[in-house]
Amino acid sequence: MTDFLQLLFSGMATGAIYALAALGFTLLWQASGTINFAQGEFVMLPAFMMLGFLSMGAPLAVSFVLTVVLAVFLLGWVFKRGLVDPLFKYGMMPIVVATIGLSIAMRNGLRAGYSAEAHPFPSLFADKLFNIASVTITLADVGTFALALVLVFATQAFMTKTVTGRAMQAVAQNTESASVLGINVPRMIFYAFAINAVLAVAAALLVTPTYLAKFDMGESLGNKAFFAAIIGGFNNSRGALLGGLIVGVAENLAAAYISPAYKDAVALVIFMVVILFKPQGLLGKKEERKV
């Protein structure tokens, strides 16, 4: 039982990391109908930006704020202007492929221009262990989990409870109608990508101490996050959290009780079951009626 709880809690901590990365996927999908295959790199780059500011002597909090500003500009504005604007009207495929290209460029640009090594990253939380009923958790686990929770629910509330959030959804569902109503489509898309950039920086701050800052950290992070987002429901921010937790916990339990070599397969089986019975994901809304 203790073992099980240990696995459960560790899995939840990892799951919270996946959820943070997955949150960006769900946000962009709801708010712009796009999928960003460079989402993992969108977490990787801020991690290095923060390291850069840190190495210049700025404290972590200052580095974070500076990175948010820089990321909103680069990953928000520049990305939107340079890549999303010209491709938005051509549907999903070109954006997907362009972001695949972007992820290759970002990953390898960082490697060639900076470093192929893994770099340690300071944790926001003190290195403290709790021992509750012989289950060990770190302060970082708890902190990451709590912050993930806050971010997920804040995003969800923003998207569904505010008019701006709904206007962003409207843009994703029917761009022309949105502009006919006077919704400032480019601005809504910018908001979506700006918020995504902020979330990515937050994710970077929380995940990099475990993931380590490395040029290819985004690859596996992005994959897992994609898993998580789909399982939870792509069109719902809470789905990201649920999906992340499921993937994190399932992996751990599978590795311990079934087969470590096939641990990824277990999450897949869960997914297949989900998709067959609830194609829109656990918390996702049904697609529109078409006839």
């Binding site: 490697r111 192929a116 641990k263």
Partner: protein, 375 residues
């Protein structure tokens, strides 16, 4: 021939990028030095570096390209999986090929043109095994390995080596490269009730594993091979690395003058501390140099032949880093170290003698903070 062309075919992107980049940097450092000192037999070395993307199919193509370019020798790839494929091409073209791969099978196929720059797992693992059963006296052992050809090969070899010993392997725990959460792996190790754990994985994963071991209160021996106690791992794992013991073929922390010199030069040029892969590439070039000079002419076949019984010492050739001897298979032999992490520092606790009597012991730096080598 005006210059000596060398193709450097390494993992610069994909999963092997860290290892490959180090290897490449080592090669380039050595080449720069040799060229500055007048080259080999008066001829300058010219290297071209290409990236395999950690993909064996690409590595094979690049090796063919090197053959087309009529290079004198090929360095890399570093990943066992890639050299296993690409060496067929260098063999066909009869070009000496130095690899950074550790998998035992590389040199077990009678390829007269493949040479190692590090121990084969067939050499390294028995040394670790001996430490585990004779010195650490562990009755039972859990093995955590990374599930790729490197880790899997190591697993097979250490199991074989432990077969005859008093240590029993009670758990084999597979992990993935790039894995983040090691709680299940550590839990399994704990559940197995083993007296100690043997860790065989890449640097970052080793660091995460060490942290998880500490988190879950693991207080039994942690033993590894080469990667476990690297400076990188210590940097990444912090305190959690303390107490880990490993057998290391090459380490920049070894108290040897040649290695100290190398470490300083590498750090000067690349602004970071080399790992063992950097040392592999660097010493590999010097091994080639020694062989060419021994033959006295640029004849690939003769050089390959010479390499098969080559013995190089740091007295004559400091670039070789440690006294070394190659054998008929292309495997090499030299002293190695047993190190332990103490207070965030890699400390050499013992120097293990080479198997081949031709290899003479290295002379350590007299006054060092490291413990003197036991003989």
């Amino acid at each position: 021939q005006e210059v000596i062309k060398i193709a450097n075919i390494v993992e610069l992107s994909g999963g092997g990028a860290t290892a490959g980049t180090n290897f490449k940097n080592g090669v380039e450092l050595a080449v720069k030095e040799i060229n500055a000192a007048g080259g080999i037999l008066g001829k300058k070395i010219q290297t071209t570096t290409s990236d395999t993307q950690s993909n064996p199919g690409v590595a094979k193509g690049l090796t063919q390209k090197a053959v087309d370019d009529d290079v004198f020798a090929i360095f890399g790839p570093v990943f066992s999986g890639s050299i296993m494929v690409s060496m067929a091409e260098s063999r066909k073209a009869e070009i000496p090929n130095f690899t950074g791969g550790e998998a035992a099978s590389i040199t077990m196929q009678g390829n007269p043109y493949v040479f190692r720059t590090s121990f084969t797992q067939a050499t390294a693992m028995p040394k670790v095994a001996r430490y585990i059963s004779d010195q650490a006296k562990l009755k039972t052992l859990a093995i955590v390995f990374v599930n790729n050809d490197f880790g899997k090969g190591g697993l097979d070899m250490i199991k074989k080596a432990l077969d005859k010993s008093s240590t029993k392997v009670v758990a084999e725990i597979s992990t993935d490269s790039g894995q983040v959460d090691f709680s299940a792996a550590v839990l399994k190790a704990k559940q197995s009730g083993a007296d100690g754990v043997f860790v065989y994985s890449n640097e970052e994963e080793s660091a995460r594993l060490l942290r998880e071991l500490r988190k879950q209160g693991w207080n039994k021996p942690i033993i590894g091979e080469t990667t476990l106690t690297g400076q990188k791992v210590i940097d990444l794992a912090g305190e959690a690395a303390n107490g880990a013991v490993a057998h290391v073929g090459l380490t920049v922390d070894a108290p040897l003058p040649a290695i100290r010199a190398f470490r300083a030069k590498f750090e000067r040029d690349y602004k970071y501390v080399s790992d063992h892969n950097g040392m592999k590439g660097y010493s590999g070039i010097y091994a080639l140099k020694a062989a060419i000079e021994k033959v006295g002419k640029l004849d690939r076949k003769a050089v390959a032949n010479a390499l098969h019984s080559l013995v190089v010492t740091t007295d004559k050739e400091p670039g070789i880093l440690m006294n070394v001897a190659f054998d008929q298979n292309g495997d090499l032999d030299r002293e190695s170290f047993l190190v332990e992490v103490k207070d965030g520092q890699q400390v050499v606790v013992a120097t293990l003698p080479p198997l081949n009597p031709l290899v003479t012991a290295n002379k350590p730096i007299a006054a060092g903070k490291s413990a003197p080598a036991k003989k």
